[in-house]
Symmetry: C2
Subunit: 200 residues, 2 copies
């Protein structure tokens, strides 16, 4: 017996999503079927509504505004001279959740493990450099390279730092140490070394 | 900064799916946004198309036919007197993939770990018993209880067996032993005992 076409189509489309394989997609299909058509319409609409989402021309975050800028880049109360360079939108969201950062962002997009930046990522950095030249008179106050502190992240952060050299008065990375709630006993050696070196 | 409404709506709807939490749903949202509107429409349609899916009145599998029966129950070449009782649609699909079973099925739906069957599951068993009475003259040739061979599965299988007692000439469960490709060294004790007892 062949699997019904509706299921096969769902599995084909949804198993392309990150973290979802054909097996989970099949289970999801039956789950969604049993949820009923009201729920299905809600799910379909949630996806279809993404058509109104635009990408900010300055930081590459998403928005639904008319002026091409996201809420952060359009916010005059935020300091456009302090820029956090992040990899993913979700990194931006985590930093925003702290409510302790009042600058703007540049989203690079998923970084590879090859030690080279993608063409698109170089374009985004160039876009930032042009912004700094034209709007900030050549130097930002500070650029925070907020890329994950792991082996590949460090490599990519070094590449980004090299690209942005001379474009900011201060070029920093996020502090490293023992996370709040963490335990010294279970911290890895590199983290402990950072915590010792950067003791306050 | 508030997360755009479109993202929040997507996360709200998709984090209700099994195995997908709010964090993965957020990542999926950005992934889907970057896939572009063609892809989004395809995904939305794959879900919306589920509205045509119906549930078989005999075995409770899905179908898109007009007569209320799924392809298996409607197939006159299949032996309606041999019935495999399974928990999930995906179990049915796995058994179908073997191409070695020519009977029909009864899908019970997700079994609980409480040692009692849900009202809906009792109804489905009653439906099967009526079918056996009315269509098969009171006794099926064989009922295979194809429920997972673990602690709760065994408990539920016993409940189902009790319900179906007297309704089949043979009431069986799937064979247990070392899976093909498995290693004796790593087989657990219960599996090895089954393999010894059922040696061929």
């Amino acid at each position: 017996m062949r699997t019904p076409e509706a299921i096969r189509k769902f599995v084909r489309v949804f198993s392309e999503l990150p973290g979802i394989g054909p097996r989970q997609a099949t289970r999801l299909a039956f789950h969604v079927i049993h949820k009923g058509s009201g729920n299905q319409m809600e799910m379909a609409k949630a996806i279809a509504d993404f058509k109104n989402i635009k990408i900010c021309k300055r930081c590459f975050y998403i928005h639904e505004n008319q002026n091409g800028l996201c809420d952060i880049c359009a916010d005059m109360k935020r300091n456009q001279k302090v820029i956090a360079v992040v990899e993913k939108e979700t990194d931006l969201m985590s930093l925003e959740n702290t409510a302790k950062f009042n600058g703007r962002y540049l989203i690079l997009g998923d970084l590879r493990r090859t030690g080279i930046l993608e063409a698109d990522q170089n374009l985004r950095l160039k876009n930032l450099k042009n912004f700094i030249k034209e709007e900030l008179g050549g130097k930002a106050e500070e650029i925070i390279i907020a890329i994950n502190p792991n082996t590949y992240g460090d490599l990519n952060a070094a590449l980004v730092a090299k690209e942005l050299e001379g474009f900011a008065l201060k070029l920093t990375r996020l502090g490293r140490g023992i996370p709040t709630g963490g335990e010294i006993e279970f911290a890895d050696e590199d983290t402990l070394i950072s915590a010792l070196e950067r003791r306050v």
